[in-house]
């Protein structure tokens, strides 16, 4: 069987799909800039009025760098297929995948990577510019090993976030009206992942507790690997934990979908 060719086709269709609505595509890029700008002004005001050089162990330059990087990463790993999947489940669109000799999971995953491909390229260019600017201003100490690890953790983050979202999507098998549920869960996941601001803001105990959840490994961890906040030893440990979570969620997503699919086949779509 030539699965390689199939997934190449799905990947390429994902790319084409992301470019089909050009205006939407550029608006998506622009959309990443607004929250970053808002946060930039807030942090600037906070640091000016506090009179301290470091808050929550972040200097002004570091917090701005964190905000920009976290904004970019959360935009990069954002999944937008929840509504499509919920729609497939509710209106029987899933049927067309069930009758074909292919896996829905594989299809969604590859199509997701395809839809992200161009965005990944653009983000990479932006990151190069930001890293260069930050190092020129002495906010960032660029190390080759951190750059490489960052690239790895970013792929891991993309995969982990996909798997988390895919698990959450299975709830569409049980809930009738799902749209607001997705808004809430994605916002919550983003905050817990450190997509809005560094997790230190919640206090030390919360940071500790969150270390035992998968969320920091999607945004907080990759960003800190790059910025140098994470110590060298912790980087490798974190990478391992990220891989662990990916495996757990891979298994969990297969399980939830297998159970839900049984129900779907029993009651109809």
């Amino acid at each position: 069987m030539n699965r390689h060719r199939l997934y190449m086709a799905v990947f390429s269709m994902g790319i084409q799909h992301s470019m089909e609505y050009r205006f939407h595509f550029f608006l998506g890029l622009l959309g990443a800039a607004f929250p970053i700008l808002v946060q930039y002004f807030i942090w600037t005001a906070v640091y000016q009025h506090s009179g301290q050089t470091a808050l929550f162990s972040y200097s002004y330059g570091q917090i701005i760098l964190y905000t920009i990087l976290a904004g970019l990463v959360s935009k990069l790993i954002a999944t937008q297929f929840e509504h499509q999947i919920a729609d497939d489940i509710k209106n029987g669109g899933l049927n067309k995948y069930l009758i074909k000799p292919m896996s829905y999971f594989g299809y969604r995953l590859v199509s997701f990577f395809g839809q992200k491909a161009i965005y990944y390229g653009i983000t990479a260019l932006l990151l190069i510019a930001i890293i260069w600017l930050a190092s020129a201003r002495d906010v960032l100490d660029v190390q080759a090993v951190r750059l490489i690890l960052f690239a790895f953790t970013l792929w891991g983050a993309l995969l982990l976030n996909f798997l988390i979202a895919y698990c959450i999507c299975a709830s569409a098998f049980y809930l009738q009206e799902i749209s607001y549920f997705f808004v809430i869960t994605s916002l919550l996941v983003n905050i817990l992942s450190g997509g809005m601001f560094p997790l230190e803001i919640f206090g030390e105990s919360v940071v500790k507790a969150l270390q035992y959840t998968p969320f920091p490994y999607t945004i907080y961890f990759p960003v800190n690997v790059l910025s140098g906040k994470t110590e060298a030893a912790a980087m490798y440990q974190g990478l391992l934990i990220q891989c662990g979570w990916i495996l757990v969620f891979f298994w969990l997503s297969r399980l939830t979908w297998r159970v839900s699919m049984k129900k779907y086949s029993a009651v109809g779509g």
Binding site: V10, Q16, H17, E20, K262, V267, G268
Partner: protein
């Protein structure tokens, strides 16, 4: 060997009923009354290779549910089915490679991309060889006359054009078995005709087995020698479409045109009056009275024109739907 073998297939759904009004909504919030709907009740039939079978029944009769079970989308509540040597709901890939299902009301193509992309994706899904793919695509698109439209986004196509693309996408891997659920719904007459001719060709050329549901009698008359009729989940009839009339004692229709007005009361004794105005009347009567009535009518009325016809098949089928006699007419 039979291609499709269905035995005592049964499917029931649980659903909730809510009376109108806010009060009942509140009541439902706490205690919902669950009801069971028997969508398909012990349906059995066999279909041989190369057969083209029409699957008829009023809305909600259980046609789509049956097709969904036979394609493996739904598990039955009980009963057995053997399709191409597989149990459909086990969803084996080898089984999936050999059939296709086209639903007139559901879109299987990528909405935002040209149909050619979806067709190419299907080529990859079903592992169709390049050479065969190119030949099939050229042949199918030429027959349906849509070569020019292959590279237009699906969302910009008309309903008829989209349906033709659906058919190409469904047939690109040359399935041996094709389920069609109302493939001509909402299409204009030329498109309906085109789709029918195309399906007939596909059935004859490749010896493909087709199971077709439709509400357009013409679809079934043109394509299928054999018809299976179900209503309320139960099998009512299985046999030749044109023999359905025989079930009702071979009723005949006489149409009369008069040169002078004829009162309706005067016609009543000759048969059931289907319709009449002063100069025109349609009578329904059993075949054995045909000779006697014809003679009498010709003698007693100022006839200018008259015809004798069979009962329209739609009429017989509607009568069959109303009968609801389980298994009575299964031949």
């Amino acid at each position: 060997m039979d291609f499709i073998r269905v035995r005592e297939l049964h499917k029931s759904f649980v659903y909730y009923r809510k009376e109108a009004g806010l009060k009942n909504s509140l009541k439902n919030l706490f205690a919902r009354k669950s009801l069971v709907k028997e969508a398909v009740k012990s349906v059995s039939f066999d279909i041989g290779p190369g057969e083209c079978v029409g699957f008829l029944g009023p809305n909600g009769a259980g046609k789509t549910t049956t097709l969904k079970m036979l394609s493996g989308i739904l598990y039955p509540t009980s009963g057995e089915a053997d399709v191409l040597g597989y149990v459909p709901w086990e969803r084996k890939n080898e089984f999936k490679r050999q059939f296709s299902i086209v639903m007139g009301q559901k879109n299987q193509l990528w909405w935002d991309l040209p149909a050619s992309e979806s067709i190419y994706l299907n080529k990859c899904i079903y592992d169709v060889e390049d050479d065969l793919y190119r030949r099939s695509l050229a042949e199918l698109s030429e027959m349906l006359d849509v070569q020019e439209l292959l590279n237009v986004q699906v969302r910009r196509l008309s309903l008829g054009e989209r349906m033709k693309m659906e058919l190409i996408a469904a047939l690109i891997h040359r399935p041996r078995l094709l389920y069609l659920d109302e493939p001509t719904i909402g299409l204009d007459f030329p498109s309906q005709k085109k789709v029918r001719e195309f399906l007939k060709y596909y059935n004859e050329q490749f010896g493909a087995t087709i199971l077709l549901t439709s509400h357009y009698m013409k679809d079934v008359e043109d394509l299928c020698k054999r018809t299976i009729i179900i209503n309320k989940g139960s099998l009512l009839y299985d046999g030749d479409l044109h023999k359905i009339n025989d079930l009702f004692g071979e009723q005949k229709i006489i149409k009369l045109r008069f040169s002078e007005p004829v009162a309706e009361q005067r016609l009543a004794k000759f048969g059931k009056i289907v319709s009449s105005d002063d100069y025109y009347a349609v009578l329904e009567l059993p075949k054995y009275r045909l000779k006697e009535v014809s003679r009498a009518v010709l003698d007693s009325f100022p006839i200018v024109d008259w015809t004798i016809e069979d009962m329209p098949i739609e009429e017989s089928i509607s009568m069959l739907y109303r009968k609801e006699l389980v298994g009575e007419f299964v031949g």
